[in-house]
């Protein structure tokens, strides 16, 4: 009798668990387009705007991976009715029951310290030039559904420019024309763009940009001018006309 009761309880628990798990595996929408725009201030604070084209929307919760660990000041810009809540590296969007099948959702939030400082700690040996900052946005699709078109635009802080775009992932797929990421002027501000056509579950996209101060040192100018003058003086015999042979002394 006790054994039978145990098996019934186990079956009921399994059904209850299935009821909980199955809806959470099926997303309430698929992300057809993921467009992130990040404006970074000089203090490293990033203001992020996400424009998401959601398709096959059903009422419920959609989890959106954001590529940052923590957000502040999260708000939904549009449409009215959708609500958002931060959940670590995810945003939990709640879609109202009357939402259309396809909807464009715009969300904004802030991220502290989006720039990596490269200044050495006291006593540490510097490996990078002073004033250099690293920008390494990294995104992973941790959700079951694939993301269609992914575009990540980041605008650099005032006073900094890209020295080099060192790396961009994923690597170009067969038949895909590059580059994966490139430097670009975005809304009149220097920045970088990362494009990926499809990001499946568990796939990542990232780039690595080195930022340096906009102003260049005058060292090269001084050294170059000094060298050029020294050469013109030291090597003037190269173009001196050959001296006429001295007349024979009588």
């Amino acid at each position: 009798m006790t054994g039978r009761l145990e098996s019934v309880c186990a079956a009921a628990a399994a059904i209850a668990l299935a009821c909980l798990v199955v809806p959470s595996l099926a997303p309430a929408a698929e992300i057809a387009r993921y467009d992130a725009r990040v404006r970074i201030a000089a203090d490293g604070l990033a203001r992020v705007t996400l424009v998401l084209d959601l398709g096959r929307v059903t009422p419920g919760t959609v989890l959106i991976p954001i590529g940052y660990r923590a957000t502040t000041n999260l708000r939904v810009i549009s449409p009215i009715g959708v609500t958002a809540a931060g959940d670590g590296s995810l945003i939990r969007l709640t879609v109202p029951p009357d939402a259309p099948e396809s909807v464009r959702v715009t969300v904004a939030f802030d991220v502290a310290q989006a720039l990596e400082l490269t200044d050495p700690a006291p006593g540490e040996r510097a490996t990078l030039p002073p004033g250099m900052r690293h920008l390494r946005p990294a995104f992973m699709n941790s959700q079951p559904g694939a993301i269609g078109r992914f575009e990540f635009r980041v605008m650099f802080p005032d006073g900094l420019r890209a020295h080099a775009l060192r790396d961009a992932l994923p690597k170009l797929r067969k038949g895909e024309a590059g580059p994966r990421a490139r430097l670009e002027v975005i809304d009149g501000q220097p920045g970088a763009v990362l494009f990926v056509d499809r990001i499946g579950q568990g796939e990542a996209a990232s780039m690595f940009v080195e930022l340096v101060p906009v102003s260049r040192s005058l060292g090269w100018l001084l050294a170059g001018l000094a060298l050029a003058i020294a050469y013109l003086v030291g090597f003037r015999d190269l173009v001196r006309s050959p001296q006429a042979p001295e007349p024979p002394r009588s």
């Binding site: 030039p129 420019r161 890209a162 020295h163 080099a164 775009l165 038949g175 024309a177 590059g178 580059p179 490139r182 430097l183 670009e184 002027v185 220097p190 080195e210 340096v212 906009v214 260049r216 090269w220 100018l221 170059g224 001018l225 060298l227 050029a228 050469y231 013109l232 090597f235 003037r236 190269l238 173009v239």
Partner: protein, 521 residues
């Protein structure tokens, strides 16, 4: 009296060259030949620095990274120094490598790794294999035969080399391998016509640079002529939805490449480096009779020559059979490794034909090549080359222009863009997708612009750093960077003219291009 002493000394040098047991390429700086060259050397140094400073301090930001801007500044400085030669080219290369590091255009590993690139290895091994051909006197025998058979005059000797390169092009796709193979022959024939490293003459310049044209341009005769051609065909298929067949390519490109090479044969010796009447026949005392006598003196093939033929045959076989390597060996033996196994046999104790000391490796030339490649790679890796192309196409308002105008611009950009890169593959990967995208945006069939653009891939003849054959041939020290630039620019301009004329006629008849003055719907 003085002139006869000079003539005797010159002839003694020629005979010594024909009897040489090793190729020696000295690292002595080439003396300035004229007052203009002296002024170029004097002003070249500050001009290079000025170019560096202007590019380095241009307002940056936007879509051009700081590393790309600094890399372009370093490359411009080096280019001016290579052309004007204020000091030897290898010193410029070393200076460039240092500048790339301190401007953070490239990292130390990327800069130093170029000395291990396949082109450097192939260059090094070329001198070992070339040394074998010279030491065993096989190169001398082949050169004397070639001159006796075809070289009664300079013109025929030059044409014989062009035909040789045309015959080799479909057999050996690796251009560097073709260069390595023919270099000893080129050197000895140049010597027979009086052109050596110490006394370069117009025949030597024509011979070296015509071979460069033959090796590079004739690679565009077929789509398997280089791997970059195949990459372009792949892009046209995947991005342009058009399959290009072997015959499509050959029918369109071969007439252009062959005509351009023949035109350079004719123009080079008459207009670019005019060969004086005195240099049009072999410069050995006794002329052809002397050469016949020398050839007869050589007698039958020696054991060393037979060994050299066998070793070279093995290397040649490996170069030609690369498509079967995976099936036979489970790995592809690339051209440097085929040459490497040849070098192992050449240097093998007792069985080989050469000792290490006999193979005079010109390290100064390898350093020059390494620096040049480091500079070119920096342009590619930092995105400077790609930025230049995008800016150029982005600033051209091509919408609504007739097909012929758009075509001419695209072909010209593609043809001359090789001056900014050292890799055909990288250039193809940057340019062809842009051309395909642009064609679609303008409303033209992508193949009508992308395929003719792909025909320009192999025309990398403008500078000694533009390709592997360029580096190897420049190592003969018989022409300057300026000579190369002059000859290369004439070749490329002829190429552009021929491609434009072809677009209006031959390509249109083949169905490749629309009417020349057609406007996009």
């Amino acid at each position: 009296m003085a002139s006869s002493v000079a003539t005797i000394a010159g002839e003694a040098r020629l005979h010594a060259l024909l009897d040489m047991e090793k190729m020696t390429l000295s690292s002595k700086p080439r003396p300035a030949q004229s007052a203009t060259e002296r002024w170029m050397r004097y002003l070249g140094f500050p001009a290079g620095i000025a170019a560096f400073l202007i590019i380095y301090y241009l307002p940056g930001g936007g879509s051009l990274g700081g590393a790309a801007q600094a890399g372009a500044a370093c490359f411009a400085l080096a280019l001016i120094w290579w052309v004007t030669e204020p000091f030897p080219t290898y010193v410029t290369s070393l200076a460039l490598m240092f500048l790339l590091l301190v401007t953070r255009s490239s990292g130390p590993k990327a800069i130093l790794d170029v000395l291990g690139m396949d082109v450097i290895w192939l260059n090094l091994l070329a001198f070992i294999l070339g040394g074998m051909l010279v030491k065993t006197r096989l190169a001398r025998r082949m050169a004397l035969w070639l001159v006796l058979r075809f070289g009664h005059t300079a013109g025929w000797a030059l044409l014989a080399f062009l035909l040789l390169q045309l015959a080799l092009a479909p057999l050996i796709p690796a251009t560097a391998a073709r260069t390595v193979m023919t270099l000893p022959l080129i050197l000895v024939v140049a010597a027979i016509y009086g052109s050596t490293e110490d006394t370069p003459n117009a025949f030597g310049r024509n011979l070296m640079l015509l071979n460069l044209v033959g090796i590079s341009v004739l690679s565009s005769v077929s789509m398997t002529g280089s791997s970059a051609n195949l990459i372009a065909v792949g892009f046209i298929q995947t991005m342009g939805d058009h399959r290009v067949y072997y015959l499509d390519w050959a029918l369109a490109s071969a007439p252009v490449a062959i005509t351009a090479s023949l035109l350079m044969w004719a123009i080079g010796q008459r207009a670019i480096f005019r060969i004086p009447a005195a240099e049009r026949t072999p410069r050995l005392t006794g002329g052809l009779d002397m050469i016949r006598e020398k050839y007869r003196e050589m007698g039958p093939f020696t054991a060393g020559e037979k060994k050299a033929i066998a070793i070279f045959g093995v290397v040649l076989f490996l170069w030609m059979s690369d498509i079967f390597h995976l099936r036979w060996f489970g790995v592809e033996i690339t051209p440097p490794f085929a040459a490497l196994i040849g070098a192992v046999i050449v240097l093998f104790p007792r069985w080989g034909v050469l000792q290490w000391a006999d193979a005079d490796i010109p390290w100064h030339l390898l350093i020059f090549s390494a620096g040049a490649y480091a500079g070119g790679l920096a342009l590619d890796d930092t995105g400077a080359a790609e930025w230049g192309v995008r800016m150029l196409f982005g600033n051209l308002a091509l919408q609504g222009l007739p097909f012929g105008v758009v075509y001419t611009i695209i072909v010209s950009v593609m043809m001359y863009s090789h001056l900014l890169t050292t890799s055909k593959t990288v250039r193809t990967m940057i340019m062809i997708p842009i051309v395909i995208t642009l064609s679609k945006a303008l409303g033209w069939d992508p193949v009508s612009l992308a395929l003719p653009a792909a025909f320009c891939i192999d025309w990398v003849v403008g500078l000694p750093i533009s390709g592997k054959p360029n580096v190897i041939l420049f190592s003969t020290n018989q022409y300057s960077v300026l000579d190369n630039f002059k000859y290369g620019m004439v070749t490329c301009t002829i190429g552009v003219v021929l491609l434009v004329v072809s677009a209006a006629t031959w390509f249109h008849w083949l169905g490749l291009t629309p009417a020349f003055w057609a406007v996009a719907p």
